[in-house]
């Protein structure tokens, strides 16, 4: 699905990602874990075209997306659920979702937006209940659902999520993670960035550990999870002390 080779990226003179090589296979949940500032969000921003890569190669299903615009990348089937939700607060839930479906207008399939809305509402009945409510008045968990729903409206093959558990109550985190697994079961490939390494590795197939912009470990999620000492060394904390949510 997604193949990245030797990707460098950063902000101005600040180099954040150094030669990142990774891939996400069709139907997989792949997680990127790492401490604060490791470059996880930068990686997602670079893949989604919000940030220009300094060097390297990015292929989405045989198509080079290295120079593509963000809209083109979304059109090609790769959507981002940004860190901190970034829902449009003064707009209603439904308006937020319809905006997410902008690509269907490009694709001249505006009549299908209704179906997509129904699909999102069936996945998140809570959003249906609040379809007329302003997004800014939703709880954190609901906003996260809305952000995921909005990304789904573009009918992505690959959905990338940046810290979906951030700032949510443990029970809500559990819901969000089970939604992620459900998306995968429906055939959507997931690239998940998380600081909550234990939870992310718990649902992922494979994982990459980023440290100061470099991949220092990769492997099956269960192996990375089993490797508590390595995790502690790389993440600077003990996984056992993290809240058990899965």
């Amino acid at each position: 699905m997604l193949r990245i080779k030797n990707l460098d990226a950063g902000y101005g003179p600040l180099k954040v990602l150094r030669k990142v090589t990774m891939h996400v296979g069709t139907g997989e949940i792949v997680t990127i874990i790492g401490a604060n500032g490791a470059g996880k969000s930068t990686l997602l921003k670079t893949i989604s075209g919000l940030l220009r890569a300094g060097a390297g190669e990015m292929m989405l299903d045989q198509q080079n997306i290295g120079r593509a615009s963000t809209e083109a990348i979304v059109m090609s089937g790769c959507s981002l659920v940004p860190e901190g939700r970034q829902v449009f607060a003064p707009m209603t839930v439904q308006e937020n979702l319809v905006l997410g479906g902008f690509v269907q207008y490009y694709r001249k399939k505006r009549q299908e937006v209704r179906q997509d809305l129904d699909r999102v509402y069936s996945l998140f009945p809570r959003l249906k209940e609040r379809e007329g409510q302003y997004a800014g008045t939703l709880s954190g968990g609901e906003q996260q659902m809305l952000a995921i729903g909005r990304a789904m409206m573009a009918r992505p093959k690959l959905i990338m999520m940046d810290e979906p558990s951030m700032g949510l109550a443990p029970l809500m985190v559990k819901d969000i993670f089970s939604i992620i697994t459900r998306l995968r079961d429906e055939g959507i490939t997931v690239l998940l960035v998380e600081q909550n390494a234990k939870a992310a590795l718990g649902i992922a197939d494979r994982g990459y550990v980023l440290e100061t912009g470099r991949v220092i470990q990769e492997g099956q999620a269960k192996d990375l999870l089993a490797n508590k000492d390595v995790q502690r060394a790389y993440l600077g904390r003990d996984l056992d002390t993290e809240t058990e949510i899965i």
Binding site: R3, K5, N6, R18, K19, T21, M22, H23, Y208, E211, R214, V215, I216, Q217, E218, G219, D223, A226, N227, D229, V230, A233
Partner: protein
């Protein structure tokens, strides 16, 4: 039969991506965690960021057995010792031993890779596996043991030695697969014959042999004597132990577990890559090892790469059986000679046994080689005419195949020391 069908039949293009990912993360890790590599790379002004494809690996320095010795015992470990759950040391074929460590994940990976080669060699969970490798610091015993258990076979950890007992257990426990060095398998086969035991009374089906070079002729001989299917496998403790590569039922080259090891074949003198298919020294970089990653380790083992697809369906490239070691290579009168070549010649001559010893002396300025070889039939020792005839045949064949003249000394059967581990074939008395 595959152990991990998905990996073992992986698309080569996907494999290339995976190798690059793993190579880069290994490099990042060793640069960060192993002062030896960091210092060496910095001194040579090699920026790990310039390694962007597997071919770029050529810019990295080699790691030699000496580097491992210089860092004895723990200097090259990439994780703190508390994360290491096992320590082994190399068998020290060529001198001081070298120390290697494994994390819990390394042991899991290792078991899995051994399970792959054992499955390829015919072993299933229904087999009774007799492991006649030494259980010690040597990686052979434990490596095979964990792999066989991983498959679910019934494992007999008999270790090496006590040949008569090996055979008794083989009969009583109904061993179906034997794992040891080829020279020990030969000794077991000969002992079985001497004891007058018919192979029909044994349940043996498969032999998985490794840890020393052996020839195709020797395979045929063991297969015939024991009436089993023999496969070759390859590994070395500096890199992991058994499980690096192994033959499938086609018995035509050993599939390298390329998703865990990156191999290069280089000319041992110029250190430049050889043409694909040419013989050279195999150089290995580990791609997933945690405790003891090695970068471009010079194995001293000579082989060639076989990139042609294999009938078994595995996509991993094969290496030919190891033809010898660069440090086993004798330069006799300017000619490169490997003990395995001599073995090959001997196996082609009826009357001789593949038990031999090469003694090299220097007389004046000239190399003088004596080949001591056992004969099966004592008639060669009593009947001068037949003795002369056999000696001449051996001499003639050696001259035509190797281009060197040697003295031949025929020995009574069982004169040369039998080993339960690796055979000692060469005694070099030259003070070079």
């Amino acid at each position: 039969m595959y152990w991990e069908p998905e990996q073992e039949q992986m698309d080569r293009d996907e494999l290339a991506q995976l190798q690059l990912e793993r190579l880069e993360s290994t490099l990042n890790r060793v640069y960060m965690n192993v002062p030896f590599y960091r210092k060496k790379l910095d001194e040579m002004k090699v920026d790990i960021d310039s390694i962007k494809s597997p071919e770029d690996i050529r810019r990295l320095p080699f790691t030699t057995k000496n580097d491992l010795r210089d860092n004895y015992p723990y200097g090259l470990f990439a994780v703190p010792l508390r994360e290491v759950v096992r320590i082994h040391a190399s068998s020290g074929t060529t001198g001081l031993s070298t120390v290697v460590g494994y994390t819990r994940n390394d042991i899991k990976t290792w078991s899995n890779l051994v399970a792959r080669i054992m499955t390829a060699g015919g072993v299933t969970k229904d087999d009774v596996v007799q492991i006649a490798f030494g259980y010690s610091l040597f990686t052979g015993g434990f490596g095979i043991h964990y792999g066989a258990e991983c498959i679910g076979a019934s494992v007999i950890p008999i270790s090496s030695g006590k040949t008569a007992r090996q055979i008794k257990i083989m009969q009583d426990f109904k061993t179906t697969a034997l794992v040891c060095t080829p020279s020990y398998a030969m000794l077991i086969a000969d002992t079985i014959r001497e004891m007058g035991i018919s192979t029909d009374t044994l349940s043996l089906k498969y032999g998985l042999f490794g840890a020393e070079p052996w020839s195709e002729a020797m395979r045929r001989e063991i297969q015939d004597k024991l009436n089993i299917v023999c496969t070759d496998n390859y590994g070395l403790s500096e890199v992991m132990g058994p499980g690096v590569a192994g033959e499938c039922m086609e018995r035509d080259g050993l599939h390298i577990n390329e998703d865990h090891f990156f191999v290069e074949i280089v000319n041992p003198e110029t250190l430049e890559p050889v043409q694909v298919g040419e013989v050279g020294e195999i150089v290995i970089t580990t791609l997933t090892k945690e405790a003891f990653p090695v970068i471009r380790f010079r194995t001293r083992d000579l082989t060639r790469l076989m990139p042609e697809p294999c009938k078994c369906g595995r996509t991993f490239h094969r290496m030919s059986r190891v033809m010898g070691r660069t440090d086993d290579m004798l330069i006799i009168k300017g000619v490169n000679v490997f003990p395995s070549q001599i073995e090959h010649v001997l196996l082609g001559i009826s009357g001789t046994e593949p038990h031999y010893q090469i003694i090299v002396d220097r007389k004046g300025a000239l190399d003088d080689v004596t080949l001591r070889v056992e004969v099966q039939d004592p008639v060669y020792l009593t009947d001068m005419a037949r003795q002369m005839e056999l000696v001449e045949t051996i001499k003639r064949k050696l001259v035509s195949e190797l281009g060197i003249g040697v003295h031949i000394k025929l020995l009574e059967s069982k004169t040369l020391e039998r080993t339960e581990g690796k055979a000692k074939r060469v005694i070099d008395n030259r003070k070079l």
